[in-house]
Amino acid sequence: MNATGNKVRVWDLPTRLFHWLLVAMFALAWWSAGHPQQLDVHLFAGYTIATLLIFRVVWGLVGSWHARFRSFAYGPKRVVSYLRDLFGPRTLHPVGHNPAGSWAIFAMLALLLAITLSGLVVLGGEEGHGPLAGAVTLETGIGWHEPHEALAWAMLLLVLVHLLGVAVESLLHRDNLVAAMISGNKRVAGAQPAIANHRGIAGFMAVVWLSATVIAALPWLRADEKHPYQPFKGATLPDNATWRSECGSCHQAYHPQLLPARSWRLLLAQQDDHFGESLGLDAATLAELMKFHVDNAADHPMMEAAWYVTHSLKPNETPLRITETPYWRKTHAAIPESLWRDPRVNGRGNCAACHSDAEQNTFTDSAMHLPRQN
């Protein structure tokens, strides 16, 4: 079939826009994943994908013929026979999705749904944001982090299968499927149902997406090094005036959430030799500090960093410095020695040099900004 025949529209404009926006947003989500400062970029991509999925489901019910699920819902027998006949003399060549391709489409849609849902669970649990904030525990959020990533890898694998299928069919049938997804047209022999382009709906999609992009980008354009953009605020942690004034007068007031209770007990018991200094705290102040630290220690995590600090330690390890915990070492391993010595940073104890929420002690992913080095 093939190089002869009439050129007819197969894919309407909204379907094509959906396809290429999805490609761009999946690439953006992949690129921004694992970069804490780009969490909002990742979420922009994720929310766009979720919106695209909702559109696609609706379009699969009410859209033009080849976009409808009904037009490419093939049973397993059709898939097997299609694949068997693929390299033989061909008799049937569907205009829209072929039986094997249709299964890849449904699988990708289902996977994307699972990825966005698991992403919302991670967001709600780890960061306390999004529609599931408050409904998901920290443990659940952290527990879904790896499945979320595994699902994304499975999606990447399916994309490769999809591309392979596109390449095979394009070559075997001399039918450039990539060009068809751009122009919307294929050469088809025989009469085919006329398909409307639905330009109005596509225009609406483009306007919505462009507006969302501008709104999401504005705070980034307004931010500078002194006023970094912090798209997410962490949970409000328990506070204590004595802790702020006593601990905070010589160094940053490190929140109890950053070390386990056994560390705080040992640290406060050694107040006569607090890293070479004698604190000389009276008994009442010491007791208040001890209670605040033990009650709110990392053993009962209220934020992501506390959970990881606790779980990176062996039960017999009692670090006296946050910088001695395996989690801190791991997350700060890539920072060059020259940056620690930079006068703007001045050592490993000055969290606020890079974490704009160090005062609140929440250490959210998006609040981290390394000072630029020359």
Partner: protein, 133 residues
């Protein structure tokens, strides 16, 4: 009522320096009761920049190391680099207002800088110097 409106800000303005004057006077009396003689602001000033090498110090320590030689300026913690608000009551009225706070810092900072707690005489000399700043 109009007089009241004028007096209240005046009281607020003079109340703070008065408060720390009382606090420091009481402390000085207490030091004398502990055996100190007359206090000298000059001796306090000399000790401000005097260098000490208590056991465990890797460099000479002095009050000025963290607080700076000019008490009206912001200091910097020798180890953590955290800014320390000026000690001079003339620019920072919160200073010298709380006796317990003063004693806490004497205890902590004399121990670190000199290697022992300060004597009532030394503390009195210091406060006599500080209150003039």
């Amino acid at each position: 009522m109009r007089t009241m409106l004028k007096i209240v800000p005046l009281l607020a303005l003079f109340g703070l320096p008065l408060a720390y004057a009382d606090t420091v006077d009481d402390l000085l009396k207490g030091y004398q009761a502990q055996g100190a003689s007359n206090f000298s602001a000059e001796k306090g000033q000399t000790m401000w920049t005097q260098k000490f090498n208590p056991p465990g110090s890797d460099r000479a320590r002095s009050c000025a190391l963290c607080h700076g030689e000019n008490l009206k300026l912001t200091g910097k913690h020798a180890k953590t680099g955290k800014p320390i608000e000026p000690l001079a009551p003339s620019v920072n009225p919160k200073r010298l207002a709380d006796a317990a706070e003063i004693e806490k810092w004497f205890k902590r900072n004399c121990t670190w800088t000199v290697g022992r707690e300060c004597t009532p005489q030394e503390k009195g000399d210091f406060l006599s110097y500080l209150r003039k700043q």
